[in-house]
């Protein structure tokens, strides 16, 4: 427990400033040699971003938390193979995306079985409430513009499952349709169609708002 408190206090310091590249490299090297404390510091640096990806991809907190845990477990296992060919944040994000997609693929048959493609998921599940609370909690001290961001996150959570996944991966995370298609085992054209559908729905809902 004391170790956890230590990690949390470290995380606070790190959130305030971007970690120096040398410090990060030292942490990576220590974690590669099996140092749990070093890895947990890296976890503290990246967990917020990984969680944002998982939460936007998956329908509720519980699944997002499972995906996050899975992602960091994979990172821990594969860290000795990280050779610095790309930035560490990029490597982390890549693994997190894989974990989120794996969880999504496990869920999507059940989602698709219940929810027709031309409907949205939020009304049936009410899952957007939790995301709304999270975003509210983070931004309640800001004014004006954050209302719209909060709205967009809520609206994204209302999208049909496939459309939401494609939209998050393409528009938010910056992946290409060819890559998304490969990951989700769909045709590239389908990825574009889902993306187009997501944009249409979001624009429609934004206009109504």
């Amino acid at each position: 427990m004391a170790l956890l408190e230590f990690f949390r206090s470290k995380a606070g310091q790190m959130a305030a400033s971007v970690a120096a590249p040398d410090a990060t490299a030292a942490l990576i090297q220590a974690a590669q040699q099996g140092n749990h404390a070093a890895f947990m510091q890296l976890y503290q640096q990246h967990k917020g971003r990984v969680y944002a990806l998982c939460r936007r991809m998956l329908p509720d907190d519980s699944h997002a938390q499972d995906a996050l845990q899975d992602a960091f477990l994979r990172m821990w296992q594969q860290l000795p193979q990280f050779r610095g060919d790309c930035q560490f944040a990029t490597w982390v994000h890549r693994i997190a995306t894989g974990a989120a997609i794996d969880h999504f693929r496990r869920l999507v048959p059940s989602i698709a079985a219940v929810v027709p493609l031309n409907t949205t998921t939020a009304d049936e599940s009410g899952h957007d409430d939790a995301l709304t609370q999270l975003v509210d909690a983070e931004h309640h001290h800001h004014d004006g513009d954050y209302t719209l961001q909060h709205t967009l996150d809520r609206l994204v959570a209302r999208l049909p499952a496939q459309a939401r996944a494609v939209f998050v991966l393409v528009a938010v995370e910056g992946y290409s349709h060819s890559e998304v298609a490969q990951w989700l085992s769909i045709a590239e054209g389908s990825s574009k169609a889902h993306y187009h559908r997501a944009r249409e729905l979001l624009q429609e809902w934004l206009d109504e708002a």
Binding site: L4, F7, R8, A25, A26, I28, Q32, G34, H36, F39, M40, Y43, Q44, K47, R49, Y51, A52, R55, Q65, L68, Q69, F72, L73, W76, Q77, Q78, L79, P80, R83, G84, D85, C86, Q87, F88, A89, T90, W91, H93, R94, L134, V135, E138, H139, D145, L148, Q149, L152, D153, A171, V172, E173, G174, S176, S178, E179, Q182, L202, Q203, L206, D207
Partner: protein, 245 residues
Amino acid sequence: MKPNPTLESLVAQLPAELPVPNALDTKVLAAIQQTPQIQLSPGLSQPVSAPSAPVAQVDGKGRRMMPSWLAVAASVGLIWLGTAVYLPEQFNPALSVALSFVESSVESSVESSVESSVESSVVAPSVVTSRDQSAPEQWSPTVPPAHAAGTLVGSHTTWHRPNARWLADVKPDIAVLLSAYAQLPSGFEDSALQLQQFAKTRQQLTSTLDAMATASPKVQAMLWRQLAALEQRERDYLRQLLAAS
């Protein structure tokens, strides 16, 4: 009445991070404490902060090439891990060896090559978003970064295309796969034939790719995708066999 902001501007303003419940810290720590890391064989690791002195060699044109001894040594290590970690009391060594190969060295080679090939042919500057954290100027101009497509910015970044160097990484695995499949015990005759067919098809595809090193990126990307799809089918088949054995 204020005009609605565009969807793109709203997306760009989405928070990059969301708060994580503190309880997860404990879970993650507990999970990693119970899970061993996948270590490379001794002597194969290199310092993270030393990209200027890589293990990988560079050819005359400055392209990165993986030494064959490294590929073989890494594969041996992964096979050992595969048999130690993934296999229960009863296991089939030949299948496990093959699965380790298909899941590790071959896959990574194919993946990287597909990515770089697809990127070089279809990527457009317009797909760059604010979420891309890696600064292009920090990339090595000759090493394909193992991350997402859609991050090519500017004309100063030269993308590595799949070529004979990458194929060289894939080819030795085919011989090992064929050898592993040939060692399947009795009762697996049909499966051995099927698996050897997979390996031979892979060999044909890599030969075609090798011969088409100067073909257009789109054609090469198509071939690499076929290779990746084949590898996926092979992996699925191996998994089924392992589950059934």
